[in-house]
């Protein structure tokens, strides 16, 4: 088996996001998290539920005939799945600050943005209702900003300021990027660099982050196992679309 690429390491780091989740809906946004979630389900987290991107929950593995195991139209998702909390979303982000506040709404002043983005979508509700992680395919100071322009997904400081109802189920888990994995396991709940991917230095991550990262206990992201590499390469992503999201 040839050496793991950066994209493959990131996929495994995304799969690891779901370890221990059990029977929850995994909602990965982006290619690498989607492959990661499916890898997790095929290996160590078989209970995960996943949608087809439309209204069906689908079981089985790629290559097999798709088996519909449930119905989850958008209304059910917003009405019951999100507020009920049995869900782990991995969202993308245009900006992310040190306490995990996310912006996918607009860059610049909200009244008249320099750049209109998607809108806050379900990010406010996701973040105060259930476990949330983030995926950043290109770790840069443009994304990791000291402040975000429009808080869409709620970070630890804003959840705390939002009162007990905002923080009760708030659970920012990790941030996976092309360079490493961050979490919020610090006394102030500010971001910590948990691991760098093999071949990446701590300085490289720090240089690409606008705010101060806790780097007191950085480890190395684990490599994919041979079986994981086989599943990624032969079963989950034989066309290597992952290399378009994360350059080697």
């Amino acid at each position: 088996m040839s050496e793991a690429t950066r994209a493959e390491i990131a996929i495994v780091a995304c799969a690891e996001l779901f370890r221990g989740d059990g029977e929850v809906v995994a909602s990965p946004m982006g290619l690498v998290p989607a492959i990661g979630a499916r890898l997790a389900r095929m290996t160590f987290e078989p209970g995960l539920l996943m949608t087809d991107g439309e209204a069906y929950l689908v079981a089985g593995t790629p290559g097999e005939a798709t088996t519909i195991e449930g119905w989850q139209p958008f209304k059910k998702m917003l009405d019951t799945v999100v507020p009920n909390g049995k869900r782990h979303v991995v969202m993308g982000t245009n900006q992310l600050d040190r306490f995990g506040n996310q912006n996918i709404s607009a860059i610049g002043p909200h009244s008249r943005p320099d750049r209109q983005l998607l809108g806050v979508r379900g990010a406010p509700g996701n973040t105060v209702n259930h476990r949330t992680s983030y995926w950043v395919p290109k770790h840069s100071t443009r994304v990791f900003t000291s402040e975000v322009d429009v808080v869409s997904g709620v970070g630890y400081d804003r959840a705390s300021a939002g009162g007990p109802a905002a923080s009760r189920y708030h659970d920012l888990h990790r941030v996976v990027t092309n360079l490493g994995v961050c979490d919020f396991d610090t006394p102030t709940r500010s971001m910590r660099l948990a691991s760098v991917h093999p071949g990446v230095t701590v300085d490289e991550v720090v240089d690409n982050t606008s705010f101060e990262l806790d780097t007191s206990a950085v480890t190395e992201t684990r490599l994919p196992t041979d079986e994981e590499l086989r599943l990624i390469r032969d079963v989950l992503d034989p066309d290597a679309t992952r290399d378009k999201e994360v350059r080697a």
Partner: protein
């Protein structure tokens, strides 16, 4: 029973400047595009549009129809951003009420149930509360004492939705995998106008789909418009999927100030029949390339 069939232009004649109009569907999925195109042809203006936004929002914004947009997102799904919506925001041409998707539904539900608000956790801690200073919170009267967001009703003057089938009385059916929020839009509105792929006899509705697919009751529907391919270029599964090639053409044209007048001239300056004929021509031209 009442025959509620009418034309798209007759629907638009029922609407007035300054009205609050809800548009069903989700993103670039089952949007009542034939009705939207009829609005584009009209003199209507100053609308407050309430939508889980897709190209309906982009097109209406491009024609200067929207004064205020109530939204959680605007996206073409397979293409993340709608260029017209982005331009309208960046030029400061429209006002917005930006909600979380769940809050948006809570607002529609409050209108459906005729309640002054519905409590929700979504939005707390986010800038949704900052950019909507009129939003209030409500404290639980029970021992938990939780303070939640109180979403006011999104009451609509009219709702426009597109369903796969309907009878002439307004009973309407979705045959795809997702009803979206069209039933809420219908009941949150004073009047709901349904465009449909095909008007069928009532008995045909349950012949074609399970009884659970009967989404709208005629008591919620004012008018029914037969509009084959009326959701184009958004999807109306299982009748047709999203026309990705045409949507790419829309997005590329919308991005290019030189190209956009040509798109309008070819596709939007005539009536619905002309639109559908030009789409057919476009499809065969592209297939020949």
């Amino acid at each position: 029973m009442i025959d509620k069939r009418m034309t798209a232009d007759e629907v638009v004649a029922e609407l007035r400047d300054g009205m609050t109009i809800g548009i069903g569907g989700w993103g670039s999925r089952r949007k009542p595009m034939a009705l939207v195109r009829a609005i584009l042809r009209s003199n209507l203006r100053d609308l407050t549009v309430v939508s889980y936004g897709g190209p309906d929002v982009g097109l209406l914004a491009s024609a200067g129809k929207i004064r205020r947009l109530v939204f959680g997102f605007v996206t073409l799904d397979s293409i993340p951003f709608d260029p017209h919506f982005a331009a309208a925001r960046q030029d400061g041409r429209i006002e917005v009420t930006e909600y979380d998707e769940g809050m948006f539904h809570a607002g529609l539900s409050a209108a459906v149930k005729r309640l002054p608000f519905l409590p929700i956790r979504a939005g707390l801690g986010s800038d949704v509360v900052t950019v909507n200073p009129g939003l209030r919170t409500v404290r639980s009267p029970y021992s938990d004492g939780e303070e939640l967001l109180a979403v006011p009703p999104l009451r609509l003057d009219a709702a426009l939705v597109h369903l796969n089938r309907a009878d002439m009385h307004g009973n309407a059916q979705y045959l795809g995998p997702d009803p979206y929020f069209d039933d809420d839009f219908a009941l949150a509105a004073d009047r709901c106008f349904v465009s449909t792929e095909r008007v069928v006899d009532t008995a045909e509705l349950t012949a074609e789909g399970p009884v659970q697919s009967l989404l709208l009751s005629r008591s919620a529907v004012t008018g029914v418009v037969q509009a084959p391919h009326g959701a184009h270029f958004t999807s109306a599964a299982p009748d047709y999927g999203r026309d990705e090639r045409f949507q790419r053409h829309y997005a590329a044209s919308a991005k290019d100030p030189e190209e956009w007048p040509r798109f309008v001239d070819r596709f939007l300056s005539g009536d619905e029949e002309r639109y559908q004929a030009e789409v057919t021509r476009f499809t065969s031209e592209e297939a020949a390339v």
